[in-house]
């Protein structure tokens, strides 16, 4: 891609679906669904993650997510948040498939409530169950290149390593591992979890990721809608920097002004 290529032409494809926005946003922790929808718009997101839970039978008239975030505007990516076994994940996503009518899903199988760290052994087992059931699963995982490869071999349509723990906002803790995962993957790689501010998102993209998924960094900013806009620009900037190819790192200075002709 040369400098004249238009931003709109820079697309990415997952499971046969093509998107322009490389920023996937969550829909949790917002003040209300109206703020959530405004932030998703400001982020320029085309995909939003959603969770599946029991309807509140005592108050069936309470606001519903799909009244604010319209399924014809956003691709819903149902998650398996709160699932600790493969069977729970499959049961949840079968219901999500019935509710949403599509099979693109986000698999996350967590190990414990304190770290929400992915249980990779169980994640891999759950992925195999989902693939056998016809799902296209984007998989939340640790930043281990070996497991990333195993997930890809088992049929993951995207690899989504954590930058840091969910909701921690600590930024990408192991750039080398993210780089290794990007380098070997033949499916899209998206940093999922750990982004705290705009520069973290830019770093993810500068490492060559195809996209970034975030929730708390936007929802818990003082001004979520403004932060959503900042994240949109950070993802674009990081992506453009990756495509442009950064200069080599040098230990010592190299003058920008020529020495010849000095008075």
């Amino acid at each position: 891609m040369d400098g004249s290529s238009r931003l709109e032409d820079d697309t990415w494809t997952v499971a046969g679906r093509t998107f322009r926005s490389r920023l996937i946003v969550g829909t949790g922790k917002y003040r209300d669904y109206a703020q959530n929808a405004a932030a998703a718009e400001a982020a320029g997101a085309e995909i939003v993650t959603v969770a599946l839970r029991r309807v509140n039978l005592s108050d069936p008239g309470q606001p519903m997510l799909i009244d604010y975030l319209k399924p014809d505007r956003f691709t819903f990516l149902p998650n398996t948040a709160g699932c600790f076994t493969g069977e729970e994940a499959v049961r949840t996503l079968r219901l999500a498939r019935e509710a949403g009518g599509w099979d693109l899903v986000k698999l996350e199988v967590l190990s414990d409530a304190k770290t929400l760290y992915p249980d990779m052994e169980e994640t891999l087992r759950a992925l195999k169950l989902l693939v056998a059931d016809g799902f296209s699963a984007m998989v939340y995982c640790n930043d281990d290149p070996v497991y990333a490869r195993k997930l890809e071999e088992a049929g993951a349509v995207a690899i989504m390593p954590l930058g840091a723990l969910i909701g921690s906002g600590l930024g990408i803790q192991n750039r080398l591992n993210i780089h290794l995962i990007v380098e070997q993957a033949k499916v899209p790689v998206l940093v999922d979890a750990g982004v705290g501010t705009a520069s973290d998102a830019a770093v993810a993209m500068e490492l060559g990721c195809d996209g970034v998924l975030m929730n708390t960094a936007i929802a818990q900013a003082r001004d979520p809608v403004r932060m959503a806009g900042a994240m949109k620009h950070a993802v674009i900037a990081g992506r453009q920097a990756w495509l442009a190819g950064r200069m080599p790192r040098r230990l010592y200075a190299e003058a920008s002004s020529p020495m010849a002709g000095l008075i």
């Binding site: 959530n36 997510l65 509710a99």
Partner: protein, 66 residues
Amino acid sequence: MRLSVNGEEREFDGPAALSCLVARLGLDCRKVAIERNLEIVPRSAYAATALAEGDQIEIVHFIGGG
């Protein structure tokens, strides 16, 4: 008849179809997904699905999540 709906025991006048339960609960069937005794019921089959004593019903929908 007695049903378990989202983990709560409920009395419900029967015989009735699943679509009646959804209407009685004040829910929009286009916005939910339903499991009956751990089997998903396709939305198109709500009217044809007869409820039975002791059925375990789960009614879910999309909410905010990351």
